[in-house]
Amino acid sequence: MAYPKADSRKSTGPGKIVLSEADLHRVVDRIAHQILEKTSGATGTVLLGIPTRGVPLARRLAARIHAFEGIDVPVGALDITLYRDDLRLHATRALGKTELPGDGIDGRRVILVDDVLFSGRTVRAALDAISDVGRPSSVQLAVLVDRGHRELPIRADYVGKNIPTALTESVRVSLAETDGGGDEVRLTGGEPS
């Protein structure tokens, strides 16, 4: 199957597009601005992406922050597989990469970056993982999509888009770096429309 052009992508794949490529880029730009604003110029800040898709998102945020203000924010990856509370419910998962910035995270403001905020359990695991690799001065959370249905008292500091969903639906984020093709967020499943 040939890759569809950007303007014809609405007709491909199941479900409906909730963020197009252009929307997604605008959202990343906005979060980058919000981070700059809320952290007074992103000083002492480290972006940690949660694999798989949090990592390219963190890199994009750093690139946008650089483009807007010329500031280099250290970017890393934090795999949380070994801290999950549902390991026994599934077949063994392969590990993602953990790569911390050279100067570490001690005393820094860590901004965790993930694609979708759902139950909050991934973030809970990430908080445990962070406390094992260092002691940041504070931890914030940036997500591309907040789909609700939290099971833990966790909220995001930066939200790309709030998407009300049913539990039967799933949110599928595609990024060029991890999924090939273009960027989009799609909502699938649930009631047949």
Binding site: D79, R88, T92, L95, V133, G134
Partner: protein, 307 residues
């Protein structure tokens, strides 16, 4: 994922690569302040050692503890019950204790296979007789990959008492699966003619160490087991050392990038000269450190998911 690790032959190339990749992530833990992961909390790992061992037992214990598993060390030394019975009785005891994994070292080849039919948990072979020692092969493969960047196409000489070496058997199986070319080197009495073909048809045999060294990427020296020295496999320790020991002149014949490995414990001055063991080409200390990472990877992949 597989349930047991009884033989290096249990691993296909994808699974072996997954273990090595996982070991790479586990290795990052060694550099952290908190060397502990909550992953196997509430799981029980039993170290069942019917033979003396320092590094393997400690390595497994450290690996299990770093993953937060509960570790029970069971040393069967001094047991008066005959081997077959005691192993089964022990297995039933372990079963009753709810062991999630049993790490077994046993002087009888095949003991882990028997054990795996009696217990419900995973069985990990930590060395059985002259048969296999798969986690040693995994840590050796991991060491090669981190030193030389790859395993595919590497030329590896395994030198010494291949006949009695479980390390050699597991390494031949695993490294062949991962695409390395193995040459077994040693006196004819310690390399049965059919062993290479039986393990893997691509394996070569040589009785002349000096002729193979110039083309090798890895030389793995096996320990000369002192209990074999009386058994007339070779005329004298000195003669063995002169023909098959890795000394400095021999090490110079190796290509610039080649590494020297030894599973330990070494007989310095016998199969390996002290200057070689302590040289920058030697990965012997790294191998011990990598052992913990490789065993953490195995424990995680066998026990980390749904049973």
């Amino acid at each position: 994922m597989i349930k047991h690790l009884r033989s290096a032959a249990d691993l296909d190339a994808d699974t072996a690569t997954l273990i090595l990749d996982t070991a790479g992530e586990m290795a990052a833990l060694a550099g952290r302040e908190v060397k502990k992961l909550p992953t196997l909390r509430g799981r029980t790992v039993v170290n069942l050692f019917y033979e003396d061992s320092t590094r393997t037992r400690i390595s497994f214990e450290a690996a299990a503890k770093r993953l937060s598993a509960d570790v029970i060390n069971f040393s069967a030394k001094g047991s008066s019950v005959s081997k077959g019975e005691s192993l089964k009785d022990t297995a039933l005891t372990l079963q009753a204790m709810g062991a999630d994994a049993v790490v077994i070292r046993h002087p009888a080849s095949g003991a882990p296979h028997r054990l795996s039919s009696w217990v419900e948990g995973s069985v990990i072979n930590a060395g059985d007789g002259t048969h296999e020692h798969p986690t040693q092969a995994l840590l050796d493969a991991y060491t090669m990959r981190s030193s030389l960047g790859k395993i595919q196409g590497l030329r590896v000489a395994i030198v010494g008492d291949v006949l009695h070496s479980r390390v050699a058997r597991s390494n031949v199986l695993l490294l062949t699966t991962l695409g390395a070319e193995i040459t077994l080197v040693g006196p004819p009495t310690l390399i049965p003619v059919d062993i290479a073909a039986a393990l893997s048809p691509a394996t070569k045999v040589s009785y002349d160490l000096d002729s193979v060294l110039p083309v090798m990427d890895v030389v793995m020296m096996l320990r000369v087991q002192t209990e074999r020295m009386q058994d007339s496999y070779f005329p004298s320790a000195r003669e063995y050392s002169r023909r098959y020991g890795l000394d400095v002149p021999r090490m110079r014949k190796l290509p610039e990038h080649a590494i020297v490995m030894h599973p330990g414990p070494m007989n310095r001055g016998m199969e390996i000269a002290p200057e070689v063991a302590d040289s920058s080409r030697s990965t012997i200390v790294e191998q011990v450190a990598n052992g913990v990472s490789a065993r953490m990877a195995v424990l995680y992949l066998l026990l980390g998911g749904k049973a």
